[in-house]
């Protein structure tokens, strides 16, 4: 994460030419501002940074940043981000998206990215609603919530994404809020610096279809300074408690998938196509059966 620029970068250096398409007052502005600041604080090289997103309002974010960007498919930013990181471990890879993208259509990928401990950061802008499709309930919407697709009220129980993250083996789990950019910036800095899969749930209200901003402000509390981030049971306790705990719930150090692959490649006996073909020589007749690891 070194910078090639001689002067310390400013948050505005990470702005692209495109203006965000978000509605005035959207929480995603606060998240984006926090991201610019975190990038500046970390002095990230925009040329060596990739932001991967899915589909939704928040997934438009890569367009507004001067780094490399990959605006993928609905629900698919995590496997794409994994491919980017495994192919080039020197890159800073940040996946972003909304709660519908990450926990409805993309939920099948989340636990696997987490348990693999790919060295990427996953930032979810959680507004508890589908904004881009105009207000249907999402997996994090409250029970009984009335919305165009649930005119009699939501019959389902919201997904606890933080508990899901801890249970899945994420090695960094935190929550921030778009209306507290200072703290969110600090969380992003720590998440990006973390070696392994870091997950940040950023409360980010949709002011048009699900504006809970004022209510949420009364429900947030900071994680206590003496909270033991290495204690998984305590992390579950915080995640499952009512209200919103802001801060780092869980953090552990364990080898990342890219580090393990690097070790595997280094340990493998060097070979090439000609040597591989030789092993199939008809005169040797050794081609049938499972190959042994190199």
């Amino acid at each position: 994460m070194s910078s090639t620029a001689p002067a310390k970068p400013k948050p505005t250096d990470f702005k692209s030419d495109l203006k965000p398409i978000w509605c005035p007052g959207c929480g995603d502005f606060g998240v984006l501002a926090s991201l610019y600041r975190a990038f500046a604080q970390l002095e990230l090289d925009p040329v060596r940074t990739v932001i991967v997103s899915g589909i939704g309002c928040s997934s438009r974010l890569p367009g507004f940043v001067s780094t490399y960007g990959f605006h993928t498919l609905h629900g698919r930013p995590l496997p794409v981000a994994m491919g980017v990181k495994l192919a080039n471990p020197d890159l800073n890879v940040i996946a972003v998206g909304g709660d519908g993208d990450g926990f409805a259509i993309g939920a099948g990928h989340f636990p696997h990215a987490a348990r693999r401990n790919v060295d990427i950061t996953y930032l979810v802008m959680d507004n508890e609603i589908y904004g881009l499709t105009k207000g249907q309930v999402s997996p994090t919407s409250l029970t009984d919530q009335k919305a165009p697709s649930t005119p009699w009220g939501n019959l389902e129980t919201p997904l606890n994404t933080l508990a899901f993250a801890v249970a899945s083996g994420a090695s960094f789990v935190a929550r921030g809020a778009s209306f507290n950019t200072k703290a969110l910036t600090e969380l992003l800095v720590q998440a990006i610096e973390h070696r392994g899969f870091s997950y940040i749930d950023a409360l980010s209200p949709c002011v048009v279809f699900n504006n809970h901003q004022e209510e949420w402000k009364t429900l947030v509390t900071d994680v206590a300074p003496d909270h033991d981030v290495a204690d998984k049971v305590k992390a579950f306790d915080l995640a499952l408690r009512g209200g919103f705990s802001l801060g780092i719930l869980y953090r552990e150090e364990r080898p990342t998938l890219n580090e393990k692959y690097r070790a595997l490649v280094e340990a493998a006996k060097e070979s090439d196509i000609d040597r591989m073909l030789e092993a199939f020589s008809a005169r040797k007749g050794a081609a049938i059966g499972k190959p042994a690891a190199a």
Partner: protein, 605 residues
């Protein structure tokens, strides 16, 4: 190739070759007298999965290859892990083998079901070896059937049933007069540190050889001609994995699925030794999505699947077409629809590969025709993907993917690799999707200064910024399709076998090539004007070349292994010509005899 044999025969003159399924040459009276030895022989081993059928087949195949024979195998598998009937067919000969053969010369029955399921495939002179304790052969076949004490001898010699396969292999070797030296060498190699086991296996081999002594040499096969060139023995899946390595594969992601899992497994073991990595993903969507991520980061990336996986990948395939991200997708087709026939063959994903997905996303579809071609077609796939920044689907099928074949060792000095056009050296305002002369835009690779852009599946302008105007959409769709034009204009390979401008024209794709080739040889030898056209690239379709090929034809025949005649529909649509569809959907590959019958039927109708 013969007509359907009569099974009511009681006398069986078990001797010289009246039939030759190998080179497709007519068998003249003179030739028959020249040599009693066969140019190729079809051996089928059948029994319950797990009782030595597969290992016997593997040993025979390896030994045949080692002994200098050309070989091709054909297997049927139960879809279940334990038990179920299985069959392993080995065809070996002194000339290159193009198809697995229809009529069985030597049937080895490990159990009663083997006889019940396979007796109808016996050729008119077909010989039967069977375990007397397990199989009852009808009296009318006894004259050409010999019991082999597989279980008894294995127990006597090795103290267990483990050497049963060697008894069976020995018995086969005896009947076809196959020199057992290569088999012994394989045994010694396999049990290099277990002399006792090796000795028992070799003893079992020779004991088997002595069984059915009066049939010894009755299906004698000609000694292979010593050749200098290198040959290799491999499956279609292995040839693809090796072709990918030769093309510079950096990243492979896949999800286990029959019959494509071998590629995932082989690359998992071997790719790290070239610096690349292989990962098993949570599903096929993640597999292809991560392949796109790796490709975006500059890697040569591939996935492999079968039809059900291709269905899941289709959204990502469309994205790759829209965002112009190079990738290679192997589809080892199996019987469909839905879960279908996981262990049987079919060519029913053609139209999915060509058109699958919403909107109209460009892609290239390639179909190799043989195990050897799988190697080269995979290199083509990477070259097209990288040069045209497009997803490339390579279609094989269960038969081609899993069969073992002796092939010419690919000459890697002939491998030519095409590189991606990148933003390196771009001057000024970088445009990821810039309109260019060849419609291929320079791709910024992370790490490259000034190449920053957002790759996206949303319609976009030259910078990659979302844009939905008529000009942008028409411009970008035109660009995305126009870049593939070189493939229609000489870049893509195709092959005409037989007459260049035939009276009876066959058009096929993929694994039907072998049987069609043998049938064309036979029909031409009988004086018919026949030729076969095999495009390697099916999308974009080589319509001009096909039209020229059929310009003098009175009949155009399209054999394919599916229900609705997908290639026939494609040729009609692309070329506007009338064709006869000969589609079959029984989960099995064509034989040369099937195709020859079709040619004769069309020639006389």
């Amino acid at each position: 190739m013969t007509d359907r044999p009569s099974h009511g025969r009681t006398s069986a003159p078990v001797r010289a070759s009246r039939r030759r399924m190998g080179a497709g040459e007519p068998v003249g009276e003179n030739e028959r007298e020249e040599s009693l030895a066969r140019k190729s022989v079809v051996i089928r081993l059948a029994g319950e999965s797990g009782e030595g059928v597969i290992s016997s087949g593997d040993i025979l195949t390896q030994a045949a290859a080692r002994g200098g024979y050309w070989t091709q195998t054909f297997r049927t598998y139960p879809a279940e892990i334990k038990g179920g009937p299985c069959m392993y067919q080995v065809r070996m000969g002194d000339e290159q083998i193009y198809s697995h053969g229809k009529w069985v010369d030597l049937l080895v029955c490990f159990n009663q079901e083997a006889w019940d399921l396979h007796w109808e495939s016996l050729g008119p002179e077909g010989v039967i070896l069977y375990d007397e304790t397990a199989v009852e052969i009808p009296e009318s076949y006894l004259s050409r059937a010999r019991p082999v004490r597989m279980e008894q001898l294995a127990k006597e010699i090795g103290g267990s049933l483990r050497a049963k396969n060697m008894v069976a292999v020995g018995a086969v070797a005896g009947v076809i007069s196959f020199n057992t030296t290569p088999i012994e060498e394989l045994v010694l190699r396999r049990f290099a540190h277990k002399q006792g086991v090796a000795d028992a296996n070799i003893a079992a081999l020779h004991a088997g050889e002595d069984e059915g002594a009066d049939l010894k040499g009755s299906l004698a096969i000609v000694e292979p001609v010593e050749v200098e060139e290198d040959r290799v023995l491999m499956s279609g899946n292995q040839a693809i994995a090796l072709g990918a390595v030769a093309a510079g594969l950096d990243y492979f992601a896949g999800y286990p699925i029959t019959p494509a899992s071998d590629i995932l497994e082989w690359l998992s073991a071997k790719l790290p030794s070239t610096g690349g990595i292989t990962i098993q993903c949570e599903d096929e969507i993640a597999s292809l999505a991560s392949v796109l991520g790796a490709s975006y980061a500059g890697a040569k990336a591939m996935t492999a699947t079968s039809g059900p996986g291709l269905s899941l990948m289709t959204e990502v395939l469309g994205f790759a077409g829209a965002a112009e991200v190079p990738c290679v997708i192997i589809d080892a087709q199996r019987g469909g629809p839905s879960t279908g026939l996981p262990t049987k063959t079919e060519q029913s994903d053609l139209q999915h590969a060509l058109y699958g997905g919403h909107g109209e996303a460009p892609r290239v579809v390639i179909a190799p025709v043989s195990v050897e071609d799988c190697f080269w077609a995979t290199i083509d796939a990477f070259n097209y993907a990288e040069r045209f920044q497009v997803p490339v689907i390579l279609l094989t099928d269960q038969g081609l993917a899993t069969r073992m074949e002796v092939i010419h060792k690919p000459d890697t000095s002939k491998v030519e690799l095409w590189e991606r056009k990148t933003s390196a050296g771009w001057d000024g305002d970088y445009k990821r999707y810039a309109y260019t002369e060849d419609s291929v835009s320079p791709m910024g690779i992370p790490g490259e200064e000034g190449g920053q852009h957002v790759a996206t599946g949303i319609e976009h302008d030259e910078w990659g910024h979302p844009g939905y105007t008529p000009e942008i959409h028409l411009g970008m769709q035109t660009k995305r399709w126009a870049k593939l034009e070189p493939l229609s204009n000489g870049v893509a390979r195709h092959e005409v076998y037989g007459e260049e401008r035939p009276d009876i024209a066959l058009i096929g794709f993929g694994s039907t090539y072998g049987p069609v080739r043998e049938a064309v040889d036979k029909a031409r030898a009988a004086g018919l004007s026949v030729g076969a056209f095999y495009p390697r690239v099916l999308g974009p379709f080589p319509a001009q070349q096909v039209k020229a090929f059929v310009s003098g034809a009175t009949r155009v025949i399209i054999p394919e292994v599916n229900f609705t005649g997908q290639l026939a529909r494609l040729v009609r649509g692309e070329c506007g010509i009338a064709v006869e569809s000969h589609a079959k959907s029984d989960g099995l590959p064509f034989t040369a005899e099937d195709i020859h019958d079709v040619i004769l039927q069309e020639a006389t109708s």
